[in-house]
Subunit: 433 residues, 2 copies
Amino acid sequence: MEEEVKVLLAALDGLMPALPSQHAVYQVAQIKESAERILRLSNDISAAQLGSRKKIQEMSGEVVGSNPYSRLMALKRMGIVNNYENIRNFSVAIVGVGGVGSVAAEMLTRCGIGRLLLFDYDTVELANMNRLFFRPQQAGMSKTDAAVETLADINPDVVLEGYKLNVSTVDGFEKFMEALSKDFKGMQRESKSRVDLVLSCVDNYEARMVVNQACNELGQTWMESGVSEDAVSGHIQLLVPGETACFACAPPLVVASGVDERTLKREGVCAASLPTTMGIIAGLLVQNALKYLLSFGNITKYLGYSALKDFFPTMEMLPNPQCSNASCLQRQCEYAENKPFRDALEKARAEAELANAALVSKVALHEDNEWNISLIDEDEVQANIDTPSEFLPDGLSRELPASEKQVLIEDDFPETELDLDDLQRQFQTLNAD
Amino acid sequence: MEEEVKVLLAALDGLMPALPSQHAVYQVAQIKESAERILRLSNDISAAQLGSRKKIQEMSGEVVGSNPYSRLMALKRMGIVNNYENIRNFSVAIVGVGGVGSVAAEMLTRCGIGRLLLFDYDTVELANMNRLFFRPQQAGMSKTDAAVETLADINPDVVLEGYKLNVSTVDGFEKFMEALSKDFKGMQRESKSRVDLVLSCVDNYEARMVVNQACNELGQTWMESGVSEDAVSGHIQLLVPGETACFACAPPLVVASGVDERTLKREGVCAASLPTTMGIIAGLLVQNALKYLLSFGNITKYLGYSALKDFFPTMEMLPNPQCSNASCLQRQCEYAENKPFRDALEKARAEAELANAALVSKVALHEDNEWNISLIDEDEVQANIDTPSEFLPDGLSRELPASEKQVLIEDDFPETELDLDDLQRQFQTLNAD
């Protein structure tokens, strides 16, 4: 509009010399004044629409009101995250930009993630307004366009890619795979995939199976999320191809029985949804994603949420050696093959930790420690209190032996290379019913 | 701006007759065309800014894309909430419109709450952009103004009241109390307070003590929330004056020792925050608020969230008969006085339930029940499975007697009126250390 008004102003200037009377000149001067006022108003509006924040080259922890990253970089000072600024190196794909996906995208955007890929084929409706994120005036826009518009405004530092496509179609799947494998800024990666994490925020099993297929093929770690039709429960789950169960390893009944889930939905009946449950699930999902990407805290394998009783069940699922998904079986083989390498790494890490602990205890004790005072490691005590599963009250003993991970610290690393077939057999025995 | 352009167009029309040449007329016609285009553009912009959704007189459950309440009203069909449309009758006050309060306000707005009162004295900064809700172009606005602007756009059906004030000042506290007690649409209420719930979303103890004081004075149920300075844990808590511990019953060390908490904060150091943790806490808070207002599920007394281990502790705190807060002590007395009434109500409810269950079992059994088959109440079985605290595996027995509530069903209601002093003594004995 700015340009229109400028053209008008020029035209009025051109008119001036031809004017017949003082009165006409006065009239045109008045018109010019109006036009100039319009120009100012228009500038104000576009300033408000474009947002007032410029791109920021480097994340800083400076504590000033104008720094959108100060409270995130403070996570370093608080001892939670070692290198928060690394978040800029990560690419995350979100499949499904609905009640969970859109909020997950906003959270990652506000956290300053490097790059977000958004996949959805749907359009914003007023019926979506009972969940966070979309605004009424975006009704009619594609969810990806509306999301990119809002997110770019919130944080211009994030590279945003919107893909309006249905991953469950043949063509959509191909484009989905292409997008996940596309090189970005020449970043070198070991895997076929060029993203660091895929978040599944879809509302049907068919699409979950598709994301599962893509991630199994690419060996791509992903996280799944879901909210129940009655809006009062939900879950998040971590899926590492070959290492944990894939979505086809223990498929839901609808999937296993081959029923088309769309036939299960009745005409004129819609699922309930709440901004609370969806916001909580998005929060738990992105929290787990941040823990995974930035290496802090315990990454959760599965976390449920039941709103009526505020119940949060957890569980773990190993891969199924009889899984119907061929790529899953292939990833399971590779994971078994890599065991010696993982063991060696784990051993080296444990040894380094022990050495470090020994060094610290030597340094920490004062030489003139006449009362023989020594400190108990606060972290250790805290861990005991926080994790009921690791904490045993007096008089109780464990029925099962400690896990392999803990045993390893004392055990010697087996020098002989293990046979793959042998490993697979062990695997099958472990997983057999 | 529309008006400016209309004035301009009228002025151009007035200019027409005085024009000296055909060329000048052509020039003015061109100018008019520009002005009309500007008018159209300006209309588009205001349409986009005002939002495309009009007020809705009555909530309907109709399943159409244009109904913003269809997914909420579906909670009735799903058997979760009996009368979702009642949400329009409720007023909720939110103290602190920061990382938790703003998201809580948005959730309640999208749920179609009747009326929201927002209290904050702070201004939006770019440093707030790592949490949900505020947008960069709102930097410099007061948080209440910015929130009202955004929320009115999302849901014009909600009555929004922004109060830019600091509740911790003498003047602010007075206005806070006034706002909570102000009549709204002539709604009659039994209590002095004219809101149904207060949500505390502040970031310091002083303000929490102030909210506590106001709610104790008014006998107002409230919910408290908080997120730790390292951004990876938080909690929500229900406070019912006289019935549960108030915030002064077991004050945090900082409050109890009378230290000014501001002196504990170091220059140039800021607390960390994450959109995930704050979004989760806001979600848990509003979920509990919805359960409280719409009577569904179990209302949680205290729920903690520890992000590093996905640990969710719960607990319950009784009021302290030695509480330093005089209004709390008064509410405790009233609560004790009301015991006979509550007991009678509970007894009547239990009897009605028993009668109902007897009726159902009579009706449900077929007359020709030759195999003597009867159904187990599904809800009962489910409750046993879902609530670990109520479920006892074989071989275990409870150390403590069952709670008063369960005993009541068999006991007779004491006909003699209890003496208040006697009740108070009993109370003190119960709560004494």
